[in-house]
Symmetry: C2
Subunit: 426 residues, 2 copies
Amino acid sequence: MPSGALPGFRDFYPPEFSERAFVTRTWRDVARRYAFVEYDGPPLEPLELYTRKSGEEIVGQLYNFTDKGGREVALRPEMTPTLARMVASRANALRKPVRWFSIPQLFRYERQQKGRLREHFQLNVDILGEADVTADAELLAVAIDIMRAFGLTPSDVVARVSDRRLWRDRFVGNGVELDQMPQLFAVIDKIERAPRDVTLERLAALGLRPPVVDEILDFVQRKSVHEFLAAAEAVPAMAERVRELRRYATYLEALGVLEYVSIDTTIVRGLAYYTGIVFELFDARGEFRAVCGGGRYDNLLEALGGVSMPALGFGMGDVVLAELLRERGRMPPAEPAVDYWVAGSDDALLPQVMRIATRLRAGGRSVEYALRGQALGRQLKSAAAAGARRVVIIRPDLVEQGEAVIKTLADGHEERVRLSDWLEAA
Amino acid sequence: MPSGALPGFRDFYPPEFSERAFVTRTWRDVARRYAFVEYDGPPLEPLELYTRKSGEEIVGQLYNFTDKGGREVALRPEMTPTLARMVASRANALRKPVRWFSIPQLFRYERQQKGRLREHFQLNVDILGEADVTADAELLAVAIDIMRAFGLTPSDVVARVSDRRLWRDRFVGNGVELDQMPQLFAVIDKIERAPRDVTLERLAALGLRPPVVDEILDFVQRKSVHEFLAAAEAVPAMAERVRELRRYATYLEALGVLEYVSIDTTIVRGLAYYTGIVFELFDARGEFRAVCGGGRYDNLLEALGGVSMPALGFGMGDVVLAELLRERGRMPPAEPAVDYWVAGSDDALLPQVMRIATRLRAGGRSVEYALRGQALGRQLKSAAAAGARRVVIIRPDLVEQGEAVIKTLADGHEERVRLSDWLEAA
């Protein structure tokens, strides 16, 4: 028998499942508070759904195959194409804006690297049908409020916001030609990890004049939204972006998340399909990969062959997030699976044990008992091993008087109770 | 763009997702009360995991392929092999009995028939490490208590219990040869759908004498457990099974589920690996396929190359169950996604609207508001369309006095409140 899961795939034993459930429960809870509703699609989709968006080169990273009916299919590597397909086929019937979320498991055949997984779970939150920056603020607020729900503060997590249009408005015609932008973005994309002199060389190699280079180096400094706006106000070409970002900041403040947000124009890569404001959430110390990324993709639904609809969304994977939560002490231990253990001193009491368990279970309690006759001491050990909070002990002499002993395992406290009254109250 | 999901795969739009979530939530809730803990494995596994158990012929029904690393892999068609693999690799470290459950999505390349799906979600509940019939009773109790949690009574659902050993003990040496049993089972398996004279012909064709045929026709009558035991007591060869079933019945009664249970010896098919008591849950009117099936498979873990451990479990799919729930009026409508809608009479009030939404969301409420300026009447319509219970209305004159109007949409009732006090209490 294969002794393990496939490389890059995870087994979720109960302790790991408990962590995954904690993450997904928190995701659901916050998304629900923002009035997003959950949907899901198939984990297996027509291959064409992905090549249509990303070109044939994506096939190298997919789990794709030909099914027994001759269809080219692939395990979903991302959720947006499924979302686009589903929304397109009911576009007229859906209330706008569409506020949907999903928690799919996604699959990519990544070249195997240490610790690199080939599957993960990813929260996807999308708003479809609203072009205004209000929607951008609402979307980022969901992502940040999830961080807050996990107990992560602005000193743990920062939201880095950008918009490629800022670059165009700031520099095209002000020292950079439109056709130089792709090369400039390539330099900017590497700027965080490159030594300063290497960046200077690269910018000089583009033929940019020293004052422009200086302006670029200032432009890429991470700033609070208000700092950024104060500087940008001096640039007439940025007036429209400034007005929009000013509203964005007002809304983020009203939504209680502005303290997490900075403007970081070095975020230029992202998927080519973003058309407006984009953002990434990072741990504030910069130790992990991005926790979350997203933004506005107004042209994508139409490009996928569906309806034309402004749209924006983000994806937040479970892997980096869980690493961060563990590192910050924010991943709670697994809840014990057992509220009560019921123990009988005698095999003949087993039906009585089961009746007590059944009463407690009917009241919503989680209850276990020994399926095989065991000495009381052994049962108490099993109860402790199961993490039970309390043990209900019955013995023939107690049963005769309609009584039981309730033992609290944490402190060993024992209390003799009238069983019927106690069950009524438990 | 492909306009739909692959044949046999479901899109879960929010209304369908809500039904699925209701089913899985109920599954989890009951499994948790019985102190089962959740695990999961990968949806993609080595192909060998399935051929080892079921032989090469299963490959025709699988979504299998060669991955980019040359591995033969398959989408999981069932959960037990993954369970066996996971338990085997940590057998010594796990507390016994292992009480685990999982809710995997499973995949089979079924020849396409009307309404026949190629994926479904299936609750898997297993107990590993306990050979006694106490575990069989506990397992069946979980399955039945799930039915009860869905509001299904003994007049909606019956548990049909059997054990192939009953046939051996009753008839081998009493008119049937051991080597006739496979053919006899083949007849019994079809008995429910075959006319009586066809069954008589088939039994006669096996060379069984008329009195034995009569005994078989009586033996296959569905009976309460106590009726069955009363009849079986007359057969000395069944003494061991009678003792076991008597204890089983005592436990099922103590666990509060005996009223759902009957003995039905026509359940003989099942997977070949069952070794003891087996059961299926059916709707009482016999309109649907089985809702659930399971039983004891004491030899399987070892056969899969893992550890030798007695084991039993059941699987309950979401598809037939959901059909039954809908048919019996037990599938609740989707919960509205919105508790409160916040509406401002004026675009300039939007930040104030967002602050109110944020306060309510921080208190756990689900809140939506119009992302684009709209007349109040239009916003009220949107609120109603979203299923909001109440609308918080603000206008400049109200804001000035720190007040708001709370409108209950169900009855149109409006109340003017002091906003800060109301938010405190909301």
